[in-house]
């Protein structure tokens, strides 16, 4: 193929700067949107990515919403290979308004630090959290969201565990954690299971006395499969069968609850890509039609067919390539802001190299497809006919 006059390519782009600009803007939007949607899907799986392989979760084999008796904990702890256990009781209190939702767990405060080495305290201390029976510990995302500082008193209204006298559950914030792993959930809120248990026993609060899940840390070198089987065997014959899973598997069940939502997001992404391909194709066809006369002249004075082909294809690739780069820059640049805005539903939102590659492939793919038809037409043009046509 003969060399393509780059100067001419550039002139062509500028000739209809407005149209080129509008087309590029559409592609920018599309690349951004497709990357955004893909990141949402990836973020849904963030919990699985952040899973530790030395933690196991014990839950009722019957239902996630059925509590296990408190008497299970010492027996689980005695299974060979189990190093430590910690209660995890879903609380679902309301902070001022139901829309302020964040995940709250009643836990064994003393076990928490060793259970989650990922947590790095940025304010307060584990010791203070453990020492205060009515203390709580939360992630940096939740603290930031409500502007909490260590020492703040937080009042939660019970939903699963209401208090008949209508007083709120009252806790003092003792520490705030952060984590280096970007996929680690920074919205969790922990408090003493003891505080809950005491209130339920004394009748200050209503609700089942039990624990939804126990989290288990296994000893280094212990075989997870053997430990899981050992725990499940304990209650094979009831009263409430248990199911022990790895943390990744435990988190996966919540993702699978979303059913068809990932498929749905993917179809939307497909729709966006399709719409944008049509827009780019439209522009390039217009460009091709306008240049008919130019190409006629070029061919008449001796340029090859491949030069015309290359000019149009190059223009299409250049437009889509530049627009794609801007779209990707927008995606990467906006990621921190978007992540904060949707942290409640998609805590793991962040720009990843795979998504950037997808966006780039989309832009160049559209450029190639949109350019090839008009380029092929231009290549086949007969100079005489082209010149006969009115500009």
């Amino acid at each position: 193929m003969g060399s393509i006059p780059l100067g001419l390519l550039w002139q062509n782009l500028r000739r209809h700067w407005l149209r080129t600009g509008l087309t590029m803007a559409s592609i920018v939007v599309a690349v951004f949107l497709v990357c955004f949607l893909r990141t949402l899907i990836v973020a849904l799986n963030a919990g699985i990515e952040a899973s530790a392989n030395n933690r196991l979760w014990v839950q009722s084999a019957v239902s996630l919403f059925v509590d296990l008796p408190l008497s299970y904990q010492p027996r689980i702890a005695s299974v060979p290979g189990v190093e430590e256990t910690c209660k995890f009781q879903w609380f679902q209190g309301t902070y001022i308004e139901p829309s302020n939702f964040f995940a709250q767990f009643g836990v064994d405060a003393a076990a928490l630090e060793r259970m989650y080495p990922e947590m790095r305290l940025v304010e307060g201390s584990f010791a203070a959290f453990v020492a205060n029976d009515q203390g709580c510990l939360t992630g940096s995302a939740t603290a930031q969201r409500f502007g909490w500082k260590v020492g703040d008193v937080i009042e939660l209204e019970g939903t699963i565990f209401p208090r008949p006298d209508r007083t709120p559950w009252t806790m003092r914030l003792e520490a705030i954690y952060d984590a280096d792993n970007p996929n680690f959930d920074k919205t969790m809120f922990f408090f003493h299971h003891n505080y809950l248990q005491r209130a339920l026993e004394s009748g200050e609060a209503l609700g089942n006395q039990g624990v939804g899940t126990y989290v288990v840390r296994i000893a280094p070198g212990a075989d997870a499969t053997t430990v899981m089987a050992g725990i499940d065997e304990l209650y094979e014959n009831g009263p409430q069968r248990v199911q022990t899973t790895t943390e990744a598997e435990f988190n996966r069940q919540f993702v699978s609850m979303l059913g068809n939502i990932p498929t749905f997001l993917r179809s939307i992404g497909g729709g966006v890509a399709f719409a944008i391909l049509l827009a780019a194709l439209n522009t390039m066809l217009m460009a091709g039609r306008e240049r008919t006369r130019d190409f006629g002249i070029m061919k008449a004075i001796g340029f090859r067919d491949s030069t015309a082909f290359g000019l149009l294809l190059g223009e299409s690739l250049l437009v889509c390539g530049i627009a794609g780069a801007i779209g990707l820059a927008l995606y990467v640049g906006s990621a921190p802001v978007v992540a904060t805005a949707i942290s409640r539903m998609f805590p793991g939102y962040r720009a990843t190299p795979e998504t950037i590659a997808t966006g780039a492939a989309l832009a160049l793919g559209v450029g190639l497809l949109a350019g090839i038809i008009p380029a092929w037409q231009a290549g086949r043009l007969r100079p005489v006919e082209a010149l006969r046509q009115e500009g």
């Binding site: 803007a25 699963i160 008949p164």
Partner: protein
């Protein structure tokens, strides 16, 4: 004022048909995405709210917002059923009320994954309250006090061992499937059995909620007020319609936000495409505009004519988008109801609440895409426009 004949615009759309087609399909794809999201929301929301009844009351524990969170002891439930005068009674003088247990039970799906299946323990009068809303389509109802269950039709398609005669184990107790049922509401995703047998098998105490048929003209607002502050047996009372509508708020809000966001962002791109298409149409017809202006058409008429042409493009795009979304109607899907974390099966529904916003959206895209090019066309000077030919 002379108006440019509409036929002129129609013909010009036809003359540049490849460009028209691409623009229309592009707008169509945008509209179809919006319509698809709205159809999902409609399918989900209508499943709940359309079937809720105003003459059936739901009693929950104060503070809870769904039956998954709620719970009553048996004594508490009995007190509510017996001592609420607003509850209707049957011929035998029995209150038409029933305690119901609701547990999301983990079961295998046909495709190998696991799902949370809503299992409901009901008392005999539940059926009397439901009346025509609830129909056995195959087999029979379970016999009270036995380990028998009936399975909703949508659920029976999605989990194994749900055919009549099969056995499903809940915790440790085997239950025999004796019937399949259908109902107008979300119940078709559920499994029903005897309240007492379910409570025992699932190791639960009491029940989750109480449902009751209300006497004609019962004042629900007054009842709610009274029971909320009741010292002996407090409860949160709602009509079934209110309850079911509240159940859809979270997912509906997510879907409407998602649809709005996608519509906005994709709309921007579609407007740019529309502007492009109109600009190229106008530049190709510069001399025609010159002629129109020189034979006496006012710039205002030119502006209206080209704006109309763009709106027409939008309208065509809207129609194409709705047609693209139409095959979705009736497609069954499942998602989690975030209020109870159980799986609900429902179908996409294309309703007027989907089509009207979709078409209006397409028209807005047409207007936005046409305003500026039409203004540019109207400002051309006849002499220059003619010279450029």
């Amino acid at each position: 004022m002379a108006v440019v004949p509409f036929e002129y615009n129609l013909r010009s759309l036809f003359v540049r048909r490849s460009s028209t087609l691409l623009t229309v399909i592009g707008i169509g794809a945008t509209v179809a995405v919006l319509a698809g999201v709205l159809a999902l929301q409609q399918g989900f929301a209508r499943l709940f709210s359309e079937t809720g009844r105003d003459d059936v009351a739901i009693f929950l524990r104060p503070g809870s917002s769904s039956e998954g969170e709620s719970g009553f002891t048996r004594e508490h439930a009995e007190t509510l059923m017996k001592s609420t005068p607003e509850i209707a009674r049957d011929e035998a003088g029995q209150p038409l009320a029933s305690g119901e247990l609701y547990v999301a039970v983990r079961l295998r799906k046909n495709d190998g994954g696991e799902t949370n299946v809503p299992v409901r323990g009901v008392q005999d009068l539940s059926f009397a309250i439901r009346g025509e809303q609830f129909r056995i389509v195959e087999g029979a109802r379970f016999k009270p006090g036995t380990d028998e269950v009936i399975v909703g039709k949508s659920l029976a398609m999605r989990i194994p061992h749900a055919q009549i005669g099969d056995v499903i184990v809940l915790n440790l107790t085997p239950f025999r499937v004796v019937g399949h049922f259908e109902s107008d509401g979300p119940f078709t995703s559920e499994m029903w059995g005897d309240l007492d047998r379910m409570t025992e098998a699932l190791q639960r105490d009491g029940c989750s909620r109480v449902i009751a048929k209300l006497v004609d003209g019962a004042d629900v607002a007054e009842l709610r007020e009274r029971l909320e502050n009741d010292k002996v047996s407090p409860a949160k009372v709602q009509t079934e319609r209110q309850y079911l509508t509240a159940q859809t708020i979270a997912l509906s809000a997510i879907l409407i936000t998602l649809g709005g966001f996608l519509g906005f962002v994709m709309g921007i791109a579609a407007v740019f495409t529309g502007i492009n298409s109109m600009l190229s149409a106008i530049s190709a017809r510069t001399s025609e505009i010159g002629v129109l202006l020189s034979i006496g058409f006012r710039p205002w008429s030119i502006f209206v004519a080209f704006l109309l042409e763009s709106v027409l493009l939008g309208l065509l795009g809207g129609v194409v988008g709705c047609l693209m979304a139409l095959p979705l109607n009736g497609v069954r899907t499942g998602t989690t109801n975030f209020q109870t974390f159980t799986e609900v099966a429902f179908a996409f529904r294309i309703t007027s609440d989907v089509l009207v916003p979709a078409v209006v959206f397409a028209l807005v895209l047409g207007v936005l895409g046409g305003l500026w090019p039409a203004w540019r066309a109207s400002r051309m000077r006849p002499t220059e426009a003619l010279r450029r030919a």
